[in-house]
């Protein structure tokens, strides 16, 4: 059976020079992961260019899809973050579309960039830096009030504040691992069942039955993976909104 992990192997597509920053070698070669991100983003940009180029009051099919995605994130940012949600809408929208397009591209057998820890950890770090930046910029040192719930006696705060801090620190970690784990697990399972079909089909009539069962499972899992691809993008976007809402509305709750 083919190695189910081979699909995650980084391979160079085009060699580019590398440089070193602070002892870290940054190889700028275009790998399959980078190419997948480029394709996903290009396709998304092309989609939005085509659908909104001649946007009209009475929308066409493409425009309905583009507006549907826009409205989904726009309503979400406004309902979760509140009045200031409009400011963060482009970031959340970009994040959502980036993850969604990478996930969906992964469903079309090329490469799933979001199954790379390097990618998910960067997205999570970016998000938590935006959250901290927004918190510090809008509240200054008041940002740290976030870890001190109001109206709680001091002897409970001794326990509560560390818990709040740990919970906050764990946020980017969970963001990273949730997306990475879902993509990794889904694609490994797909690969394993696909491998079963080939292996068992070579065993004769008895194997065909198992192969057929694997095939139907594979079809079902593929639909499930499409759901997961969308859902993980949405979950990432929702959590980004929740975290942003937490810092924007410090002292309001």
């Amino acid at each position: 059976m083919a190695d189910p992990l081979h699909q995650f192997q980084i391979q160079k597509v085009a060699e580019l020079p590398s440089f070193t920053v602070g002892g870290v070698v940054v190889d700028m070669s275009i790998t399959n992961s980078v190419l997948a991100m480029m394709i996903a983003v290009s396709v998304t940009l092309l989609f939005f260019t085509l659908t909104t180029a001649r946007a009209s009051i009475i929308p066409g099919r493409g425009q309905v899809m583009a507006e549907g995605l826009f409205t989904l994130i726009n309503d979400m940012t406004e309902s979760i973050i509140g009045h200031d949600g409009k400011k963060f809408m482009p970031y959340v929208f970009t994040l959502f579309l980036f993850i969604l397009s990478c996930n969906l591209l992964g469903m079309f057998t090329y490469f799933t960039a979001t199954s790379q820890v390097a990618v998910t950890v960067t997205l999570a770090a970016m998000t938590i830096l935006v959250v901290i930046g927004v918190g510090v910029l809008s509240h200054g040192l008041g940002f740290f009030k976030m870890f001190v719930p109001s109206g709680v006696p001091w002897y409970i705060l001794i326990i509560l504040v560390p818990i709040e801090v740990i919970a906050f620190v764990m946020r980017p970690v969970t963001l990273t691992l949730r997306l990475f784990g879902n993509m990794l697990g889904g694609h490994i399972v797909l690969k394993v069942f696909a491998g079963f079909i080939v292996t068992t089909a070579a065993m004769g009539i008895g194997g065909w039955a198992i192969g057929l069962a694997s095939l139907s499972t594979m079809v079902a899992l593929t639909t499930l993976e499409f759901l997961v691809a969308y859902l993980q993008a949405l979950v990432f976007a929702v959590l980004t909104c929740v975290y942003l809402g937490d810092v924007v509305n410090i002292g309001h709750h």
């Binding site: 190695d3 992990l5 081979h6 995650f8 192997q9 980084i10 391979q11 160079k12 590398s18 602070g22 002892g23 870290v24 070698v25 940054v26 190889d27 700028m28 070669s29 275009i30 790998t31 992961s33 980078v34 991100m37 480029m38 983003v41 998304t44 940009l45 939005f48 909104t52 946007a55 009209s56 009051i57 929308p59 425009q63 583009a66 507006e67 826009f70 409205t71 726009n74 809408m89 482009p90 970031y91 929208f93 970009t94 579309l97 980036f98 960039a113 199954s115 790379q116 820890v117 390097a118 990618v119 960067t122 997205l123 970016m126 990475f180 990794l184």
Partner: protein, 233 residues
Amino acid sequence: MTAVPTSAAPNTEGDVATSAPDTAPATTTVVSLVPGHGDDTHAAGGQTGAHGAGDHTTGTVGTTEHAKDHGSGGLPQLQTEHWAGQIVWLLIIFTVFYTLMATVFTPRLRKVISNRGSTIAEDLANARANRDEAEAQAKDAAAETAAAHTASRKLAAEALARSNAEIAAQTAAEDTKLNARLSEAEARIRAARDTAMAHVTEIAGETAQVLVEKLTGKPATAAALKSAFGKVS
């Protein structure tokens, strides 16, 4: 790290799962497209040993150690030599994507949606105004009809009253005329009767004189007739 060369050395079997992380530090010199195959593994192992024996100054080795702690199954994602490139590319791609979304597509979509909203609101307002106007007109028309109704009813009543009055006046005039003629006739009749009654005495006197003359042979005196009338009447 000291255990790395010894663990990498017996790996000639080519076990992909365990040898994958061992090849991880081979970034600068050995570029292995498919790590964990035969000679590459040896070379990589040697390289790792060289790095491992030396001081851990380079960041790559440091992060590799970190990845090794997690990398129980040798996931390709944990080979950190590909991380830096991916992260830098991701930041570039994401920045371009974000810039385009924030400056072009989000405002465009927001504008279309708000335009649609205002168009719908405008149309609704127009429709509402039209409806109100129509309702007002209908109300006016109803009021006019009602006014016309009352006017015509008044007119009819007036006409009726006028004709009634005329009829009454005419009747009264006719009545007076008739009454006059009636009283005139009555007066005439009364006069005729009186005349007739006056003639009755005369006729009776003449008749009585004739009768008396025929019976007695001589005409009766007026005094005798008068006394006789007095006895009769």
